[in-house]
């Protein structure tokens, strides 16, 4: 109704009239607001994005691709993919379990548990890394014992996984909880009365109802896991070819003034981020009904 009523020409000839809807801003104000918004987004978001690709291709495609196929670069890409491949299922399993616990049972301390799950959002990644170093570092009690038994955590892959899981901890649970609260428990209860086992209820009733929200959370988790810098910088030790992930390699290359190599790797990560973003947007459009609960909470 609103758009059609913005401008209504008079039917009688010779006297065109313009009426403004009661709930619209004057046209100049509207244009000014759109202008400010677009300028801000262009300067703050789109310009840095364009810079990444422009700098990567400063010496042409060949140079960019060549820098990505060097051994250290390949090792970094493999490491980042490996870390993501480990952290993501861990997080998904935790997210589903936590959401199930919180939405299917009533227990004391539930609000406190949710606060604890959200905690990593408000802890600086560097502090997260510090915590892991203090717990599992070679000169801590647990870390010393683990190193003695040939399982170093800090400055090794398990530490990076741990740091990554820490910073992405709430992502899946946070998306699932509002969706599962909104769906209630009735469907599961019906399945139980029909004699289905617990696992059967989960696979055939719950999972189909939450799969898009789960995928949504997994996408957010993936984007963050591939790009995590602060926490990984602290726990990885930044060993070239061993514990240097893609973001860490970007830092090292950039500090060595290897701009094309740094931005090529950045462009590769950015491309992955853009793919994630596109998938996320597609999910929001196509499964708006299931994801609506996320936005309401």
């Amino acid at each position: 109704m609103s758009d059609a009523s913005l401008i209504t020409p008079d039917a009688r000839p010779g006297r065109p009239r313009k009426f403004r809807a009661a709930t619209a801003e004057a046209a100049p104000a509207r244009l000014a607001l759109i202008g400010i918004a677009l300028t801000g987004v262009a300067i703050l978001i789109l310009a840095p994005l364009a810079t990444v690709f422009a700098e990567a291709l400063a010496d042409g495609w060949a140079a960019a691709l060549a820098s990505l196929t060097k051994p250290d670069a390949r090792s970094a890409i493999q490491l980042t993919l490996l870390i993501t491949a480990i952290a993501l299922p861990l997080n998904a399993a935790f997210g589903v379990a936590a959401a199930w616990l919180i939405t299917k049972f009533d227990f004391r301390g539930k609000a406190f548990l949710i606060t604890l799950i959200d905690l990593p959002f408000s802890v600086s990644p560097v502090v997260a890394g510090l915590c892991i170093v203090l717990l599992f570092g070679a000169n801590s009690l647990i870390g010393g014992w683990l190193v003695a038994h040939g399982l170093p955590i800090v400055f090794a892959i398990p530490g990076i996984v741990l740091a990554t899981v820490f910073v992405t901890f709430p992502f899946v649970a946070r998306e699932l909880i509002p969706v599962m609260i909104e769906q209630g428990r009735t469907e599961e209860e019906v399945a139980l009365t029909l004699g289905a086992s617990g696992w059967r209820v989960f696979w055939t009733v719950t999972l189909p109802n939450i799969r898009w929200a789960l995928l949504y959370g997994a996408l957010l988790c993936t984007a963050r896991a591939m790009g995590e810098f602060g926490a990984v910088a602290v726990v990885s030790g930044k060993i070239r070819g061993k514990t240097a992930t893609m973001p860490i390699t970007i830092e090292m290359l950039y500090n060595e003034y290897l701009s094309v190599a740094a931005f090529s790797m950045a462009a590769a990560l950015t491309a992955l981020a853009l793919i994630t973003l596109t998938l996320k947007t597609a999910l929001e459009l196509r499964h708006a009904d299931q994801l609506a609960a996320i936005r309401r909470h």
Binding site: M1, S5, A11, R12, R17, A22
Partner: protein, 239 residues
């Protein structure tokens, strides 16, 4: 204030909401726009209130062309179906809103605003709820607060969109009488929209039966019941 609707038509894109309709409402009348959903009754009410503008035709208030007059200048007390109370304001602030929104030169003194709000709260027989928030009120109380808020601006007419739609039967009966009393006391030209023929017949001086964007019949409740002008009116009244 009398209202004259002269050949008003309204299209939303390609959809026709109102075919040209003409209607005169004498000053001080209590008129019901009665019809099923999609009959154009709410569109007509919103055109009177300045919330929509007609594609063609004119609206005259006391003989003056008011077709293009902005909603702010119309001073139409409008009561919405959802009541549309400001939920972040107390009942007092809700009722005082229209007075506080006036430019400084025309704004009454604070004490004068308080006096008027108190008087309106008494008029709607809820003198003690000024400090409450809308979320703390019952449906019937909200409706009366919305009415008081509309009356606070000293409107030239009162327009109500399904004023009793969201209420249960008992409250509805009470509030019907309440609206009648307020109308009689203020003498305001009042137009309300309803799909409930009992409500229209019981409350209004004049009932306008609408269907598919046209006026089917205009008349006193008795006339419409006794002498339905079209098959549609006959079926609708019988239902």
């Amino acid at each position: 204030m009398d209202i004259h609707i002269d050949e008003i038509a309204k299209e939303f894109g390609k959809a026709t909401a109102l075919k040209p309709v003409t209607l005169s409402i004498p000053s001080g009348a209590l008129v019901a726009l009665l019809g099923p959903s999609g009959s154009g009754k709410t569109t007509l009410l919103r055109i009177l209130g300045g919330l929509e503008f007609p594609t063609s035709g004119r609206v005259l208030f006391d003989g003056q062309d008011a077709t293009g007059m902005s909603v702010q200048d119309r001073r139409a007390g409008f009561v919405f179906q959802s009541y549309a109370l400001f939920r972040h304001m107390t009942v007092f602030d809700n009722i005082a809103y229209g007075l506080n929104a006036r430019p400084r030169a025309k704004r009454p003194e604070k004490a004068e605003i308080a006096r008027r709000v108190t008087k309106l709260l008494e008029l709607i027989q809820l003198p003690d709820i000024g400090a409450r928030y809308p979320s703390q009120l019952s449906g019937g109380q909200r409706q009366r607060v919305a009415l008081a808020r509309a009356l606070a601006i000293e409107p030239r007419m009162l327009l109500l969109d399904e004023p009793f739609g969201a209420l249960d039967a008992k409250v509805r009966k009470e509030l019907r009488q309440g609206l009648r009393d307020i109308h009689d006391e203020t003498g305001l030209t009042t137009v309300f929209v309803t799909h409930d023929q009992d409500e229209a017949m019981e409350l209004a001086d004049v009932v306008v039966v609408m269907s598919m964007g046209s006026i089917e019949q205009i008349g006193r409740p008795q006339d419409i019941r006794d002498r339905p002008a079209t098959p549609f009116v006959r079926d609708f009244i019988a239902a």
